[in-house]
């Protein structure tokens, strides 16, 4: 293990993938000399060359579409959408092309494309640079979707995504880029479709994604001081989802709190709630399943407003207390 930031972990995965496989290359806006809008690619252009770290025009649809074409013809492109919000510009190539080509063409072709996109609020960038759009991608059959919550998973999930023969959307969180954590050495993969359980307790099970995983762990520490022991489950991959682990951890405590930054209506956690409700877990629940989500509003600019629309540590603590005390 070595300590590195989430951004460094992403960079490390890109460098390893490129060293291991000459078909891998990166394309995106300002990923070269600039080093990436969030500094993720950093000095990669100097290590890998401008042929493999390709600066593009500001052209999300073109970037993703060219990634699709390159992926169909023997390459392993990784494309970066500078802010996940800009994926709206590229949605035809993501949802109508990349996602459907394998199925629609009868399995003759696959699209081993990785689309990296930073999402999430907390940077004061307002409504068009702060969304959590995982439900958009999870709703399209043919895409795989991952949301790394730790530096180690940022590296391990990206390496696994690059290996995968399917289009994988990797939603990184901007607030996590500068956070550090222990990261496995070498080219260790985090398999897609396997949830992590970073903490186990007896009183409730918190299922959280992205930046809400670390917030939930912090909340769990506070809850422990008052005698409430929480399990925290991080699905890591939203599609394909590790339903078994989530159900097993829900059954183990009987109380479920689902935490996401994204807006409430038809969010990813609505699907988790539905899966738990129609499965075996339902009869083991002591309490109704509770969602704690972003409000159904665009992300506002002012810091106090921005903070108010997405779950914070204290909101998770309060929701967990209510769930445990009332049920």
């Amino acid at each position: 293990m070595s300590e590195m930031t989430y951004a460094e972990a992403v960079r490390s995965a890109l460098a390893i993938a490129m060293e291991q496989d000459e078909r891998v290359f990166l394309m995106g806006e300002d990923v070269g000399t600039y080093g990436g809008a969030f500094g993720v690619t950093g000095d990669l252009i100097h290590r890998m060359g401008a042929q493999r770290i390709r600066d593009t025009t500001i052209s999300e649809l073109g970037i993703v579409g060219m990634g699709v074409g390159a992926a169909m013809t023997g390459m392993r492109p990784v494309v970066e959408i500078q802010f996940s919000d800009f994926s709206a510009q590229a949605m035809d190539q993501i949802a109508n092309q990349a996602a459907k080509i394998h199925f629609m063409l009868g399995g003759a072709v696959s699209v081993p494309l990785v689309i990296r996109a930073p999402g999430g609020s907390g940077t004061g960038a307002a409504a068009q640079h702060s969304q959590s759009l995982e439900a958009w991608f999870t709703h399209v059959p043919g895409l795989k979707v991952v949301m790394p919550a730790t530096a180690d998973d940022a590296k391990g999930l990206l390496l696994a995504a690059i290996d995968d023969p399917n289009p994988v959307v990797v939603l990184e969180h901007k607030l996590l880029y500068r956070t550090s954590g222990p990261v496995r050495e070498g080219a260790e993969r985090t398999p897609l479709g396997v949830a992590a359980v970073p903490r186990r307790g007896t009183d409730l099970t918190i299922v959280a994604t992205g930046v809400q995983v670390s917030r939930s762990l912090e909340a769990a520490e506070q809850l422990a001081q008052e005698g409430i022991e929480a399990t925290v489950v991080d699905p890591r991959t939203l599609k394909p989802l590790d339903e078994e682990t989530i159900a097993a951890e829900a059954i183990a405590t009987g109380r479920v709190l689902l935490v996401q930054e994204a807006v409430r209506t038809l969010g990813f956690m609505s699907e988790v709630a539905a899966l738990l409700s129609e499965g075996e877990a339902f009869v083991h629940l002591k309490a109704p399943i509770r969602r704690l989500t972003g409000l159904d509003v665009p992300i506002p600019y002012a810091p106090q407003l921005e903070r108010a629309v997405v779950p914070q540590v204290e909101d998770i603590v309060a929701a967990a207390q209510t769930l445990v005390r009332e049920w």
């Binding site: 042929q51 025009t57 579409g65 074409g69 390159a70 394998h102 199925f103 629609m104 009868g106």
Partner: protein, 328 residues
């Protein structure tokens, strides 16, 4: 041009006629099957435009790439796809190119470099540019030809892909089949240009317009653009002006054009024009032409019969067909 004309070369003339008739007869068969209620869904016919894919694909190698459109039967056939597997797809059979999952708008044939038709106008344009990027990064001299209609010129995807392809000087040819209408919108009205290839100048790439119903003219323009791409000299735009005889799709009542206009263009039938050139050159006889027509007819009849007899597409593994299998 010093190279011998296609019409003067018996082998190439024969091959050109076979391909054009194969496209025409395939689409007539599709139309008939649909009319008799034996075919499901919708389809977009390219009858009257056969010279374009036929001539362009003659300038390509088997390992060169094409991307195609919703009106793509001609591109598939010209690049070498098997009409029987195409017909089986349209007839919703398990033996179809897409096992009944794609239908008319999604036929691909990777064995012949065909990366697929596309149901989204201009959807294939960035994909073709990406295939060209891939070819250049892999150090091959493969070329990608992106077939698209005039309607695609109004799409953002076209603009983005052409900008990137021009910046990286990729080996791609943007082959615009201007069949005069994007569904009902006239390309003359839409783009305000007497010559659509003027578009190319704004992107810093060469552009040329040709008579799309003249097999030789399309061939020569495509050969030059493909040659430039293969030599590493970057992308080009070729606009082949032609005309769609049939409606956009089955719902079209032709309210946006006149009967007279359609008749004028029917008189410019690219197959008839090429047959006339072949006869004038004395390369083939009227009997030869008759024989080619008969051969294609009989080949297509067999393809339809065999496709009909094939097993229907099955729903049992639909869920397993969404994702490519991960290597163990």
């Amino acid at each position: 041009m010093n190279a011998p004309k296609i019409a003067e070369d018996a082998g190439r003339a024969r091959e050109s006629l076979r391909t054009m008739w194969r496209i025409r007869r395939f689409e007539e068969a599709v139309e008939e099957l649909y009319g008799r209620g034996l075919m499901h869904g919708t389809m977009h016919l390219s009858i009257g435009q056969e010279a374009v894919p036929t001539a362009v694909c003659q300038t390509l190698r088997r390992d060169d790439y094409i991307t195609s459109t919703h009106r793509g039967h001609g591109h598939c056939i010209a690049k070498g796809a098997d009409p029987e597997s195409m017909m089986a797809e349209l007839l919703a059979k398990e033996t179809g190119y897409c096992r009944g999952r794609g239908g008319s708008m999604h036929i691909a044939d990777t064995a012949t470099g065909n990366l697929g038709a596309n149901g989204i106008v201009a959807g294939g344009v960035p994909i073709a540019a990406g295939a060209a990027l891939s070819a250049s990064m892999r150090g091959t001299d493969q070329v990608a030809v992106c077939f698209h209609g005039d309607g695609a010129l109004g799409e953002g995807a076209w603009h983005e892909a052409v900008v990137l392809a021009a910046m990286w000087r990729l080996p791609v040819v943007f082959l615009c089949e201007d069949n005069h209408y994007g569904m009902s919108m006239s390309s003359r009205r839409a783009f305000g240009l007497a010559d659509l290839s003027d578009r190319a100048r704004g992107y810093g790439i060469p552009g040329v317009s040709v008579d799309g119903n003249d097999l030789q003219a399309v061939h020569d323009a495509a050969a030059e653009a493909v040659g430039r791409a293969r030599a590493g000299e970057g992308p080009s735009l070729v606009v082949a002006t032609t005309y769609r005889w049939r409606g956009h799709s089955k719902s079209d009542k032709n309210l946006y054009r006149t009967r007279e206009e359609i008749e004028e263009w029917r008189a410019q039938d690219p197959i008839v024009r090429f047959e006339r050139a072949v006869l004038e050159a004395g390369t083939l006889t009227a009997t030869d032409l008759e024989q080619i027509g008969q051969e294609v007819r009989s080949e297509l009849r067999t393809a339809v019969q065999r496709a009909h007899a094939a097993p229907d597409a099955r729903p049992d593994d639909l869920l397993e067909s969404v994702y490519a299998e991960v290597d163990a």
